[in-house]
Amino acid sequence: EDKVVQSPLSLVVHEGDTVTLNCSYEVTNFRSLLWYKQEKKAPTFLFMLTSSGIEKKSGRLSSILDKKELFSILNITATQTGDSAVYLCAVEEPSGTYKYIFGTGTRLKVLA
């Protein structure tokens, strides 16, 4: 059965720390992996990754995919209290179904 596993489940850090969030997957015929930030209810799109080893970057956030080892990491440097959220990873199911399998998320809390 296809699945997406995120770790850690939760994380508490102080402002200025750097964090690394992990997403591993077991999906047949992988197509793409997505990262979302969920602060209250509505997740907001961060990155889409399709190729191994190519870093996507947006400000203090960056992400990279390893298709050989079947995982992705999301890095946040110089964390701020506004980074506190649940970070969700999703992998597209194969065969052009346009359906996504979501992990349970990592809850990040950044303390001032």
Partner: protein, 114 residues
């Protein structure tokens, strides 16, 4: 509107009652998804609409759940004879055709079944 809207934002109902949840996608977005998020869990796919094609209902957990999309725009998710395990946040997302990865989510409806 500028984004995806959902109504109601909160719904409390009694076990056994039917509920209807509404989603207004972004104008021009042809694809629409419904997800369910139970407390502390990830998003669980329910159903997907693309244009005039038959919807992909493979994620609906039981025949008490149904959804329709009228005129290729507004969608309604109906849960009949609600059960306590139906309590969750129901999220709707829409995307442009061909850009299914960039899903724009609504604020969700928090459903509580007593």
């Amino acid at each position: 509107g500028a984004g995806v809207s959902q109504s109601p934002s909160n719904k409390v109902t009694e076990k056994g009652k039917d509920v209807e949840l509404r989603c207004d996608p972004i104008s021009g977005h042809t694809a629409l998804y419904w997800y369910r998020q139970s407390l502390g869990q990830g998003l669980e796919f329910l159903i997907y609409f693309q244009g005039n094609s038959a919807p992909d209902k493979s994620g609906l957990p039981s025949d008490r759940f149904s959804a329709e999309r009228t005129g290729g725009s507004v969608s309604t998710l109906t849960i009949q004879r609600t059960q306590q395990e139906d309590s969750a946040v129901y999220l709707c997302a829409s995307t442009l055709r061909g850009r299914y990865n960039e899903q724009f989510f609504g604020p969700g409806t928090r459903l509580t079944v007593l």
